[in-house]
């Protein structure tokens, strides 16, 4: 059986796809990739279906030993990965945002992510793991999905669907994907009337800092407190529980916003002042403790249009993929860019 074996675990690495839908009514959170754009691009680079599961790397990734004739992987995100050919071989730097052909016995060291909390690794043909309730997304709190329902640990062998890499060129992004820079777009509601006008103005007029309490469930922000319309003592921070969509921003009695993300519970009893527009959820999924954001209101229609525009940009990025290194030849562009003395000659991939 072909596999990628975890020889050293990262911090919080889980298999995720685009989410487990259809079971929220039974209390089952959707889970799924925190940055769906990066997972989509990683799968597209390999020719995988958009809904294939990839490895979501949290802060620091694992070392993976190739236990297959060969495997083609895609790495997406601000990584500085290295490849180790054998026990005494020095690590060789690899580029990110592209695919790589790996051989049996090589170790891929994914390493730290720089300036983001998540990055992705996908494999050509996908992982040979059973889906749970229609999805491979790991939901660790219930121990389901992905690899044994948990984050990866040393010794785990991730089974691969293919014995060897499919023939073809390696590919890379034409340019880094632009996630946007300005404020995080939000739509007011569902319970904006539970807050005073002054409270709402504070919320959209202040910087909020990502606290240390940030994970796949959500991000607790620090900053100016948001005033509830009815005092907390009189129940102003309680509602009769209702459904929680992705990016819902709940404000409990303490007055600080919590943005709820992939592993959020399905229903909750705190008022939600606003909801992050889906276009900006991948940015939330990349935030690190200490980073600050501002929130800017848009209408539902504007948010829908922003999301459709982002989808067009994803499609353009996919159409714009470049061949990374021609097999069996000399990659002249890379030669000139990096290394004029030795050159870089790549062998033919096994067919």
């Amino acid at each position: 059986m072909s596999a990628l074996k975890v020889v050293r675990a990262g911090l919080f690495d889980t298999l995720q796809d685009l989410g487990r839908t259809g079971f929220m009514a039974l209390g089952m959170p959707t889970a799924g990739a925190m940055d769906r754009v990066a997972l989509r691009l990683a799968n597209a680079l390999l020719g995988n279906p958009a809904g294939a599961a990839g490895l979501e790397i949290g802060v620091m990734g694992p070392d993976l030993l190739v236990e297959a004739d060969s495997v083609r992987v895609a790495l997406l995100g601000p990584l500085s990965p290295t490849l180790i050919d054998g026990p005494d071989a020095p690590p060789k730097a690899l580029e990110t945002d592209r695919t790589h052909l790996l051989k049996r016995g090589q170790v891929l060291r994914i390493g730290m992510i720089e300036g983001s909390s998540t990055a992705y690794l996908a494999v050509a043909g996908g992982f040979a793991l059973p889906s749970f309730m229609g999805s491979l997304s790991t939901y660790a709190r219930a121990g389901v999905g992905g690899f044994e329902g948990r984050k990866l640990a040393a010794g785990d062998a991730l089974p691969l669907s293919l014995e060897r890499a499919p023939p073809g060129d390696d590919r890379k992004l034409g340019a880094s994907f632009d996630y946007g820079r300005g404020p995080i777009r939000i739509v007011w509601g569902p319970q904006e009337e539970y807050f005073t006008e002054a409270g709402r103005n504070i919320f959209v007029g202040s910087d909020y800092r990502v606290s240390r309490e940030a994970d796949r469930m959500g991000i607790r922000f620090e900053g100016p407190t948001i005033e509830h319309a009815v005092s907390v003592e009189k129940g102003g921070a309680d509602i009769i529980s209702d459904g929680i969509g992705p990016g819902a921003i709940q404000v409990p009695g303490a007055g600080l916003p919590i943005v709820l993300l992939a592993d959020r519970q399905t229903v909750g009893g705190y008022p939600k002042i606003a909801t992050v527009a889906s276009v900006d959820l991948p940015r939330l999924g990349r935030l690190l403790p200490g980073q600050t954001v501002r929130f800017q209101p848009v209408t539902v229609e504007e948010a829908e249009k922003l999301r459709r525009d982002q989808e067009s940009r994803i499609q353009r990025a996919i159409a714009d993929f470049k061949v990374a290194r021609p097999p069996g030849g000399i990659d002249l562009a890379r030669l000139y860019e990096e290394n004029l003395i030795d050159g870089v000659i790549y062998e033919q991939p096994p067919v």
Partner: protein, 244 residues
């Protein structure tokens, strides 16, 4: 009775039938949940991903690349205008519960003291309650089940427990629940069922569903142990718990 549409960004909206807990409001929530499910099965309402019923509202999740709020809201309005059936057919579910072991029911005597009943009267009142599953949430398979006999109403414990074992049956306010996982909890522990409310080995890992009518059947420790062995081995016949 008019509804309010609340925005949940560009991937969901909530249809709110009222801002109070009442069986009539919840019946309308469940009827719309079922009506949307039927429409989706018939290939209508393209772009609707799923719906999430709660006591008084229904969240409709949609894919903004396949539908828009402006398309969907009038169609939901039309479904409501067409009339929502009042009494939805619901499953009748009976769960075995062992009240006898002090390890299973550490709060029974305190509940009895606070409700001025004997322990046997507390158990009888729990068995006589006409329960209904209103919402699942907070944890997969955790059901909020209302309809507790009024003489058993108690607020939550002032000191929540750090660890409540899986499958514990508990009460608080006008509700009962069954813990699907070991977890912290502030409810009063009244018994334990040998069944798992979340069993990832089963094709339908969550047994209860919103709308279920629910009652408990008293079992002794010996029966508990026998059923627990069957559940553990995966040989238990769950279908016999459902009578309609």
């Amino acid at each position: 009775m008019s509804v309010r549409y609340l925005s949940c960004g560009d991937t969901a909206f909530t249809v709110e039938f009222g801002n109070e807990i009442s069986p009539e409001i919840n019946a309308r929530v469940m009827a719309l949940h079922a009506a949307i499910g039927r429409a989706k099965a018939a290939g209508e309402l393209a772009g609707v991903v799923e719906t999430v019923p709660t006591m008084r509202s229904l969240m409709v999740a949609y894919d903004p690349l396949a539908a828009s709020r402006a398309d969907l809201q009038p169609r939901i309005d039309a479904l409501i205008a067409r009339g929502l059936p009042a009494g939805l057919a619901s499953r009748r579910v009976t769960l075995p519960c062992c009240y006898d072991d002090p390890e299973f029911a550490p709060d029974l005597s305190e509940i009895a003291k606070r409700t001025k009943k004997t322990v046997e009267q507390v158990i009888a009142a729990h068995l006589a309650s006409a329960f209904k599953v209103y919402v699942l949430g907070f944890m997969p398979g955790l059901a909020y089940v209302a309809g507790l006999d009024q003489t058993l109403y108690l607020p939550r414990r002032s000191e929540p427990r750090v660890r409540v074992p899986r499958s514990t049956v508990a009460i608080a306010m006008d509700m009962t629940t069954i813990y699907p996982f070991e977890s912290p909890g502030g409810w009063h522990l009244i018994g334990r069922t040998p069944l798992w409310m979340f069993d990832k080995r089963r094709e339908q890992p969550v047994f209860l569903a919103p709308g279920d009518s629910l009652s408990f059947q008293r079992i002794d420790r010996k029966t508990f142990d026998r059923i627990a062995r069957e559940v553990d081995a995966g040989t238990f016949d769950w279908s016999k718990l459902v009578t309609a």
